[in-house]
């Protein structure tokens, strides 16, 4: 019970921290997702304006915009979190305090992540409400929405573990932001966040299905669109990758903490 209270308090503190500089939060987290959607909307509008009735790999204009609306929502809920502070905590020696606290480094950052997810969920709901109100999304059922969000939370757990892994590599690296950016570029490109995977060469998609990337955006979008045919497979694949990243995080932390020099102490 006492431990639960620590989790709750950490989540509250993190919430306050995230919302302290609201404009900064908007520009850092929400702004990029909106601009990304705006560019994709403009691009596909330009493509379909030449042939309004064209169907590209099963997507007409409305279908394509729907796909990108859901990538916006999935991006907010499943891939919003970054490990910006983790490596800084290591480099500046701030993790020394966590080593003596009765609430460890992993617990602290995971509680912060949960807090971030609640915030992102609220933002995603507001965005969805606006998109429904202006008629960008035409049909939506409550069950699809619930399954979609639950699946996104599940995917976000994997994304968090990946981010955590890049963060704790700070035990060896001076800077880890490059790894984070590489991960974001690769995930954005290979997950179907930029264009649907149906537009990629078939052999390339067959290869991608062996990686976790399509499960970060493409399959969650399919779930939101009411296509549950790959849900179980996606669930199992993500479980497999969560297992691997969890073990890797554990091993890297164990080895890294031996390297830790507590800079500034």
């Amino acid at each position: 019970m006492a431990n639960l209270l620590k989790w709750w308090q950490t989540m509250r503190i993190s919430w306050s921290r995230y919302t302290a500089y609201r404009l900064n939060f908007f520009l850092q987290v929400i702004g990029p997702a909106i601009v990304f959607f705006f560019i994709k909307y403009s691009l596909w509008s330009a493509i379909f304006s030449q042939e309004p009735h064209k169907v590209i790999q099963g997507y007409d204009f409305q279908g394509m915009i729907n796909y990108h609306v859901w990538t916006l929502i999935v991006g907010l809920v499943a891939q919003g979190h970054t490990a910006m502070n983790l490596s800084e905590d290591i480099r500046l020696g701030r993790i020394s305090t966590y080593l003596i606290y009765p609430f460890n480094f992993w617990e602290f950052h995971t509680a912060s992540f949960f807090s971030f997810q609640i915030l992102q969920f609220c933002i995603a709901l507001i965005s969805l409400g606006i998109l429904l109100a202006i008629g960008v999304i035409s049909s939506l059922t409550l069950s699809t929405l619930c399954i979609g969000f639950l699946f996104c939370f599940y995917v976000s757990l994997f994304w968090y573990l990946l981010q955590y892994l890049t963060g704790i590599l700070g035990f060896w690296l001076e800077e880890t932001w490059m790894l984070r950016v590489i991960l974001q570029i690769v995930a954005g490109f290979l997950s179907g966040a930029i264009i649907p995977l149906e537009l990629y060469p078939q052999k390339f998609v067959a290869f991608l299905n062996y990686t976790p990337f399509p499960y970060l955006t493409y399959y969650p979008v399919k779930v939101f669109s009411g296509d549950y045919s790959h849900l179980m497979q996606a669930f199992l694949v993500i479980a497999f990758w969560i297992g691997i990243t969890f073990v890797l995080n554990h091993l890297v932390w164990k080895k890294g903490i031996k390297n830790y020099t507590a800079a500034g102490m």
Binding site: Q28, S42, W172, E174, V186, L199
Partner: protein, 263 residues
Amino acid sequence: MNTIKHYLSVYRKFIETSFAEAASFRLNFVLLILMDIVFYISALATVSFIYDHVSMIGPWNKAQLMFFVSFMLAVDHLHMVILSESFWMLSTDIRTGNLDYTLLKPVHSIFIVFFRYFRASSTLNIFVTWATLIYFGLQANLTTLSWISLPFLVILAFILLAILEIMISTSMFWLTEGLGINFLRMQLQQVSRWPDYIYQRTIKKVFTIAFPILVIGSAPVRFLYDNKLYENILLLIGAIIIFYFLLLKLWDIALRRYDSASS
């Protein structure tokens, strides 16, 4: 002339120290190169995959849009090498008051704030960006005049990008936490990486006249495709001159706003 010599000698020192620093962290050095290359591949492959299913996007075919993307990557490469690091330092310097030391130095503060950090590792990617640019330039059948003017236009486009980004960064002086401004800056960069014709008329007008980020790539590339469209070059040069003077004015206002946190 002496002023230019002085600035160049200072800049040479900046480059030397940046190279020395980069050489100390070899894995970082490699990761930065890798990061840029991954970005170039994803940008080019995205356009290529779209063109597997459509023949034209707006008035441009595959070779033309791929050349446009390559042009923007060449501009982005200059930006990465010369400017990108400094933007991230500015928000911290304003918040902590470290900017005091910059303001005391006997060179223009814009020069020292935005040109201090040279990203040594990214210099090697010049071969990648220019090889891509030449390859797609050949496919787009550029004229001799276009080939001659290409390096100058890349530099002019970079100058406009730099001026506009520095202008955006001045808003950090009005904020307690300026980190988010860097994300705004990067998002506007994303907008400029696509040709202006994909955007709706109002957006296009705003980003061509009021804040000309769409001029950075679209104006020079349009001239490169059709050398009779010289008004695009006038637009680019005009935007550089006007926004350069606006930047100087804005920077002065911003500095007056600076409250020197450490003093």
